[in-house]
Symmetry: C2
């Protein structure tokens, strides 16, 4: 496995790989979710590239950029074990965002709701860095996780709208034994908070159960999640949503596919999770 | 020469070409300026692709999208004569901008001044369609004309900031015998207006002369152009600028390279032209 830390060295390493190339962009501090994506890429591509870059432009000034967990040595070991061929891990933020940088990609249609409502500049940063990385890495396939469902929808729109010749693949949310969705941010949780954190999955389980019993009313489903969260003093809801899968607008009654998602603060840590209705449906 | 009018047919035609590929994006109604770019590409690339697409998103609702001159048959003859290999001429705007399209590329640093001040959404449309065309065409080299100097600076920034693996080449402004910069929009001019139109080049000539005589004061140079335009009743200045070549800010005194540019309405037709100081300097 080749590791490139300087952008200038990347094209030569990329040029040595055989197509089709699969790409797994990450912010590092890898968990089983990331690794499952690398495995998906490995199974269907001639070469696999991963990137490790804590992208500053997707964090608001008030957010956890400085605290975001990092462990490059461990990440590289994990990627090597998955058979990744090439890792881009820029050692210098300035290489991707030189002084005066002011060029942005805005997937306006999908980014004002849910995560975008709570984090107004988040998806502009995500879409911009992903466009940059796509142009640098030049993959034929790209892999994202369903845990960040809105991000996956934004990337799908980005690829379609800007005509990137890239096939997008979605990996399922990978969970801890107690249902907590794996996230690099879980590392922030104290033991007590960690004990409370599976409540997000319990909310989604409950909605799936209500749906299976015939409940279709959006307000009833949202309220049911709210009540579960209210009973947990460590959990402070940010949003609770049952939304149309295309527009991400809140829906009054579930008729087609719906994205059930929530963001919850547990202490200072903001956790997100989601499921698709009918249960077992894919996001795409 | 292969002509593709449906986006879906393009990748196969593109895949049949040998690299390096040179790309000349146009809005059609081709003149010697466009053709000189095709010739530049032909000289240094294994294959040449041109696009013909009157991009609606770079026109404001009040502008001349509907009136913009079109002559596809003539354009294709001209491109064939230049040895172009492949032309992308989408017959349907909807293919590039499907209903609900709302994804934009914004080169914010350079687009608020000069053309951007007069045409606030123009460069967002330009940057977006160029990003889309770059992703579709996948060229190694791209060719733009100096007549649209700010556009060339925006594209240079777009390529650098979004890490497109594309080398940008600039062709000189091609002029009619009387100095008028070639433009598809010259077709709008009545004979009387056409007679007045070389006044833009006369302004630039005068500034170059003053510069050669030692004049460096930005206000003096701008005023000199304004006085020439004031004497022509058919010419209504939109902007008159002597700007820093990096920031495009108006400069008090010309010390390094400067972009001297102006936009002038002659009747309903908006004409632009520019030169670089010191005379003979390149834009890049």
């Amino acid at each position: 496995m080749k590791v490139i830390t300087s952008l200038g060295d990347f094209p030569a390493a990329r040029g040595a790989l055989t197509s089709p190339v699969g790409f797994v962009p990450t912010m590092g501090y890898l968990h089983e979710g990331h690794l499952s994506l690398a495995r998906m890429a490995r199974e269907s591509c001639a070469a696999v590239i991963a990137s490790i870059f804590v992208n500053p432009t997707q964090f608001a000034p008030t957010e956890d950029l400085a605290a975001y967990p990092r462990d490059l040595d461990r990440d590289l070991e994990l990627l090597e074990a998955e058979g990744v061929d090439l890792v881009l891990a820029p050692s210098d933020n300035g290489a991707l965002y030189p002084p005066g940088y002011d060029t942005w990609v805005d997937v306006a249609g999908l980014t004002h709701r849910l995560e975008g409502a709570s984090r107004p500049t988040h998806f502009r940063g995500v879409a911009t860095v992903v466009a940059k990385l796509f142009n640098i890495v030049q993959p034929q396939h790209a892999y994202f996780g369903q845990k960040d469902a809105q991000q996956a929808l934004v990337i799908r729109r980005l690829i379609r709208d800007l005509n990137f010749p890239i096939a997008l693949h979605l990996g399922p949310t990978i969970r801890e034994a107690d249902g907590l969705a794996m996230s690099s941010r879980n590392a922030y949780l104290t033991p007590e908070q960690r004990g409370a954190a599976p409540i997000l999955r319990r909310c989604l389980d409950h909605v799936e159960r209500l749906y299976a019993e015939g409940e279709r009313d959006g307000d009833v489903l949202r309220r049911a999640m709210g009540e579960i969260l209210d009973a947990e003093p460590l959990a402070l809801p940010d949003y609770i949503s049952v939304a149309d899968l295309e527009s991400l607008e809140e829906i009054a009654s579930v008729t087609g596919k719906a994205l059930v998602s929530l963001a919850v603060r547990v202490g200072k840590t903001r956790l997100i999770d989601n499921t698709i209705l009918p249960p077992g449906s894919g996001l795409f």
